[in-house]
């Protein structure tokens, strides 16, 4: 840090009884910090440290053991749990693949769909305010409720989807019963569940765009697509990075929805990382479950980081 001669001079300038140390000068100013203020964040800091940060650090310790959660004795096994997850445990690699596929599907579908909805409902007319409220509604339901609703829609015999298809003379599918498709149908449910929430984030972004830009563009003869490309998109890029990041974390954590729709434990076709960790934990493999949860956390961090890098390429991004 280079010291600007002017500032240095000014700090030393005041009368003979002023202390030379600038820090002390600051503390004597009328806006000095009352030490009692440190007490305010203290309860929150203590709670977070003891029940959030400490257990997370402990997870790293458990992850290198073969502890079963009950016996006092356990061994440190180094990276064995991590090696096992990636090389010997097809249940885990299956859940990992499913999870990445699910996140990719949901992020793409939900981002595009919620942007389309937002674009269609930007105007503050009565109708669009009503529709916004309706589309947002599923977000407030519990995942288990949403799971039950969609379990009924997908029920091959009595379900809503096939009832509708039968009336037009089409044979419906098995949906969740079909292992090759099951994950896609849950992705549809997830998009139904949360698109309204992301739509609202986009609407906030869209409403910040000055109207004059469109008027000017129209006078210049720009068509709707050109207006979208050079005005709307640059402005919604920040909203997009929020939507993508939030949707990623949300779909990584689709735990509740999967358990509700597929039962506990879910079948292999619907097993994702969070449900796999829970099964491992329920199977009393505490050390191994901790290792899986660290991989889970690293996965989320990695995907989020990758997205931030990719999204930075878009104009006005980040």
């Amino acid at each position: 840090m280079s010291i600007h001669p002017g500032t240095a001079a000014k700090r030393k300038a005041p009368g003979s009884n002023a202390p030379a140390n600038p820090a002390k000068v600051r503390r004597r100013s009328p806006t000095r910090v009352n030490p009692a203020l440190y007490l305010f964040p203290l309860p929150a800091v203590a709670v977070v440290a003891f029940f959030l940060v400490m257990p997370t650090l402990q997870a790293f310790q458990y992850a290198i053991t073969d502890w079963n959660g009950f016996s006092a004795a356990f061994n440190y096994v180094g990276v064995d749990n991590f090696v096992r997850a990636f090389t010997k445990d097809s249940l885990f690699t299956n859940a990992l693949t499913n999870n990445l596929k699910f996140v990719l599907l949901v992020v793409i579908a939900q981002t595009v769909f919620s942007l389309v909805l937002a674009l269609l409902l930007t105007k503050n007319s009565r109708g669009s305010i009503l529709l916004r409220a309706l589309f947002f509604f599923p977000t407030i339901l519990s995942s288990v409720s949403v799971a039950f609703i969609w379990k009924f829609i997908y029920d091959p015999n009595f379900g809503l989807a096939n009832s509708v298809l039968r009336t037009v003379g089409v044979d419906g599918g098995a949906y969740l019963g079909n292992d090759a498709q099951a994950l896609y149908w849950v992705a549809v449910t997830q998009v139904w569940f949360h698109s309204g929430q992301m739509m609202v984030v986009y609407i906030a972004g869209l409403q910040a765009i000055p109207r004059e830009l469109y008027e000017a563009a129209e006078m210049d003869g720009a068509n709707k697509w050109q207006q979208f490309k050079s005005i709307t998109w640059p402005f919604v890029a920040p909203a997009t990075s929020i939507v993508v990041a939030y949707t990623t974390v949300q779909s990584f954590k689709a735990f509740d929805l999967i358990l509700g729709i597929a039962g506990n434990p879910p079948k292999a076709a619907l097993d994702i990382l969070s449900t796999r960790i829970y099964s491992t934990f329920a199977n009393s493999e505490f050390g191994y479950a901790a290792a899986q949860s660290i991989i889970f956390m690293a996965m989320i961090a990695l995907v989020t980081w990758l997205q931030r890098r990719l999204l930075r390429l878009t104009p006005k991004g980040d």
Binding site: Y38, A44, L52, Q58, F137, V144, S163
Partner: protein, 271 residues
């Protein structure tokens, strides 16, 4: 970009995709299984509350409802209280310490619940917090405190400093300034955070699943999940459960719709 007709068509189709399942669930909760399968769209023959009576009485959903009400009723204000204290402290502290404390608290948002559930389960076991509502409350508070601090602290930082200074010149201590200046002025962000937390805590499933063993201590989402196993295709009963579990949030949504959007997007756009 889109013609008016295709715009209307998309919106109408999606409205149908939202409304129809919800209507079928509402109607279905009054039907028998046979009646539901015969015609999912038809109006129920009678508005008999049999399904509701069965899920409330027979399936213990009544006591689960109470448990959820207790857990949510304590978790939300407690989280808000701790978060507003922290937010206030951070907004008045300066320099590195303010930044460090805020950063420490908010960093917790990056920790997914599954990442620390094993050690938390062990810790709760040692503290005697398994299979009781206190443990659930604590878990709820801890897991949402970071984002609540983020929302409230972020808001309190935007309050004009002069108000605090004026208050302390008037002789108020930090506690008085917190309770009579910072809290009332932060009402909009507290309301938004309250609704956001209400939805999360009311619908929370992982912690009850981890920590609760006895049926009498189940919260609603857990009770619902467990009778999915027992009543695989008794959809009318599941629907009655869904309606009962959703009722408080839906009623609140109908009246406070605007605030819900503000609350949940405050969470979304900053989460």
């Amino acid at each position: 970009m889109l013609t008016s007709i295709s715009r209307r068509a998309i919106l109408a189709i999606y409205a149908v995709i939202i409304i129809v399942p919800l209507t079928v669930v509402a109607f279905g909760s009054f039907k028998s299984t046979q009646e539901l399968f015969a015609g999912p769209f038809s109006l129920p023959q009678s508005l008999s509350p049999d399904n509701f009576a069965e899920v409330v009485g027979g399936q213990n959903l009544g006591s689960s409802f109470m448990n959820s009400a207790i857990v949510t009723g304590i978790s939300v204000p407690l989280t808000l209280f701790l978060a507003s204290l922290a937010g206030y402290g951070v907004s008045r502290l300066k320099g590195f310490m303010s930044w460090a404390i805020f950063g420490f608290l908010v960093l917790g948002m990056a920790i997914p619940a599954q990442a620390n559930m094993v050690p938390l389960y062990v810790l709760f076991g040692r503290l005697g917090l398994l299979d009781n509502l206190t443990g659930l409350i604590l878990a709820n508070v801890v897991s949402t405190l970071p984002i609540a601090v983020f929302i409230l602290g972020g808001f309190m930082r935007t309050l004009p400093k002069e108000l605090y200074e004026a208050s302390s010149i008037d002789g108020s201590g930090p506690w008085k300034t917190y309770s009579s200046i910072a809290l009332p002025l932060s009402a909009p962000s507290i309301a938004a955070a309250a609704i956001f937390l209400f939805v999360i805590h009311w619908n929370e499933l992982l912690y009850p699943l981890l920590f609760i063993q006895s049926p009498g201590n189940r919260t609603l989402p857990l009770a619902l999940l467990s009778f999915q196993g027992e009543f695989q295709t008794n959809y009318p009963l599941l629907f009655a459960g869904v309606i009962l579990a959703s009722l408080p949030v839906v009623v609140a949504y109908v009246f406070l719709q605007r605030y819900f959007v503000a609350g949940i997007t405050a969470g979304a756009s900053k989460g």
